[in-house]
Symmetry: C2
């Protein structure tokens, strides 16, 4: 937590994390650039924008309000949609016994290396170790069926309509599918800066495999017991990370309006002899008017920070629109609006405030998706031979390749591309398939190709 950034910020003590001290007199700055050092840039953005605080246990972090409020907006959409599908909520314990976890062999093999085991309670050893449930398929014994693709479409909408991140819907290969399931579908995003794919969310059809293992039956309409068909799906706060990677720039976070906790930040710009009370009044009235119209607007009235410092902080936090009101604006009955996504500035009459803000917010939402789509599409490289494949991989492309769909061939490609940056693998076989003329052969095996699949390195 950067203690000096906000009036109410708290400095943590025993956490063992790095503290970055930024003097409030200086401008807020990013030390890293997105194109130069993507990894450090990303850490800096999520910490400085106050989304995340690192934690003293590896792999754990604290989600701060700026991230949680985005998550709540996504959840609100998704929860309402799954209610429409008549799905019912369950709540399952954190723990699972070794016995139950072991029941589905293929499944547990996929998770075993990372399972956390509780062996002690207070100072006493437990009779048998208990696992922290790594995933829920062995304890949750009733799912609704036939909804794999309905849910996948909701995930697409979360990415494209809310987070403005373009994704491809498709099916995972046998090697990459959910351990123990029948097949896995996913939405896949791509980060042009690093040339890596990133799995956005998955929706699995488990078939009757778990039902057989755990004897999960139901009474059908004829009054007979039959095995259930099951599905399983999840999305996580990773989606917010993908959004950060996609839209962020060297000034920090860039938030799509639909998920921005604050869509418009209003900043008073006082000037020596100007009437500060009138300026403050105009700012308050602007926030009030926007809030009444359903726009998430807020006022930054802090007096111990300069307007310029505030501009930088809210740019860092990715707020889509900034409104500045100074003496000149007051005299002209206007406000100045600055877009975070492209920096353009417009003066608009106060009477047009709500309408213009709405138009701008909608425009930013569309623009972010369009821009990201163009960048992503520019990286798609349809290839047909092994040498084209390796060249495209070196060029950080999202590779679309004709494939024979054999597990051995995918293993072979992995082995042949192993290296510092990680091996290439299938990302997904997109539902949206280009033509595959008969006679097309697999780029890796030379056998007849049966489909186009996306390949690349991934997160």
């Amino acid at each position: 937590m950067s203690t000096s950034k906000g009036g109410g910020g708290a400095g943590g003590g025993g956490g063992g994390k790095k503290k970055k001290e930024v003097k409030k007199e200086t401008k807020l700055g990013m030390a890293y650039k997105k194109d130069d050092n993507f990894g450090e840039w990303y850490s800096e953005v999520v910490v400085n924008s106050e989304m995340i605080e690192y934690y003293d246990i590896s792999g754990c972090y604290i989600l701060r309000p700026w991230a949680m409020e985005i998550w709540e907006l996504l959840k609100e959409f998704f929860d309402a949609e799954i209610k429409k599908l008549k799905l019912k909520p369950y709540y399952f314990p954190l723990f699972v016994t070794e016995n139950v976890l072991q029941k589905e062999k293929d499944h547990i093999e996929g998770f075993a290396p990372e399972v956390a085991w509780v062996t002690k309670s207070g100072k006493s050893d437990l009779e048998a170790p208990i696992a922290i449930r790594p995933t829920s398929e062995t304890v949750i014994r009733l799912w609704q069926c036939h909804q794999v693709l309905q849910i996948l479409e909701l995930y697409r909408r979360i990415y494209e309509e809310f987070l403005a991140v373009p994704v491809s819907k498709g099916r995972k290969s046998e090697m990459e599918k959910f351990a123990g399931g029948l097949y896995t579908t996913s939405v896949e995003a791509f980060i042009p800066n690093t040339g890596r794919g990133i799995q956005g969310a998955t929706s699995h059809c488990l078939g009757q495999n778990f039902a057989k293992m755990f004897d999960i039956t139901f009474e059908n309409e004829k009054g007979e017991r039959s095995m259930v068909w099951q599905n399983s799906w999840a999305y996580t706060t990773r989606s917010i990370g993908v959004m950060v990677m996609t839209h962020g720039d060297d000034k920090g976070l860039v938030l799509p309006p639909k998920v921005a906790p604050i869509q418009v930040i209003v900043i008073p710009v006082p000037f020596k002899d100007a009437d500060t009370t009138a300026i403050k009044g105009a700012c308050e009235s602007t926030v009030y008017t926007l809030n009444q119209a359903g726009v998430r607007a807020d006022l930054d009235a802090r007096e111990n920070y300069s307007p310029g410092w505030k501009y930088s902080q809210w740019e860092m936090k990715g707020v889509p629109l900034r409104i500045e009101i100074g003496p000149k604006d007051l005299a002209n009955k206007q406000v100045r609006i600055v877009r975070r996504d492209n920096g353009t500035k417009v003066d608009i009459p106060s009477t047009d405030l709500v309408e213009q803000v709405r138009v701008l917010l909608d425009g930013i939402q569309v623009n972010l998706l369009e821009t990201a789509k163009q960048k992503r599409d520019a990286c798609i490289a349809p290839i047909s031979t092994w040498s084209e494949f390796t060249e495209a991989l070196n060029d950080k492309k999202l590779i679309l390749a004709p494939w024979c769909d054999e597990e051995e061939v995918e293993k072979d490609v992995k082995a042949r591309t192993k290296g510092e940056l990680g091996a290439a693998k299938t990302l997904c076989t997109p539902f949206d398939q280009p033509d595959l003329p008969s006679g097309t052969v697999c780029f890796a095996s030379g056998k007849p190709a049966t489909k186009w699949s996306f390949w690349g390195r991934s997160y």
Copy 2:
């Protein structure tokens, strides 16, 4: 999970729990009575009403939709209220290091015996054990202040306005307060059947104790750093358990309308030669009309269960109102409505449906709270001497006693009342204090009394 109760119910396999097979031809029944064997009665209600499924790890259970939907209704109210207080959401990791957990000595002493320790990841031992965070005060380093009583009032509203459970607001004794905090407030409920108090929810003022321990400062308006004042509060699904204990009867659960996932269940009552299509149509129209009016109504159209069996099941599940529609009702353009709380039946004209249902639901909500309040109040026993105290304790009373507020005296009372049923202790010192004439002495020590406190056995 009672597999034979619903068409879609699933029977679990490897869970090791008892399965109760209830033939669908028989009437659903409760094996235990609330007055005879409260503990078994309670387990039977929460399982048979499909709120909870027991789990193969002690202390863990699965919350099924019938409990989760109640929980979601409570959350919806509470989350909206805390948003109004401008509180911000954080999300903290599940794990905490031993080092951080140990920092606040008094605090950890209160929790240490029950802490679960993760010592292995997969097959490897961890370098240092990691605790599953038993509570959050040592890692969460920023709270809002001054809201202890605002939150406590929200908890009172959850219990009284939603769950129809009467509670007393008050302050915990030094012995019973939150370990490491400054003081603890709570809402306390009482279960007349067992004569036990039950803590409904707590709201703690932590003071600056944790702030000093972890060096949690903020920048005040003068630009200086000062220690934060902190609070901490929580309510859990225990609140649903208290509701079950308060209103349930020998037919099962009784739900207050405000939290009932289904407020009105509509059941067709076909008769030999009657027009079943018309009956079904009238039922569907009734559900539709109620839903349109914002009433949570549902239709039980299952054909492989008799109306009588359905009545019993929905009574077991505690649905506030049942509507029966048979040939006679159809002919008379009426519906029959049966109340769950008192069993009264009324026939009402279909034209008055929405208005009458609303009146009945409101009436049930009020009646449940009033009835529970009368039963609770009948148990309150103001006493002044030790012999009155022990007599009242044996009579399962909620004891209101003048007390000197000394920790040693509370310890002494605990020691002197130790026994099979557990020792007596303070429940809270109610904010609503009766007169305390000067000269009143403590029932246990004979020293001058400073307050009236509730005493009793508790859950």
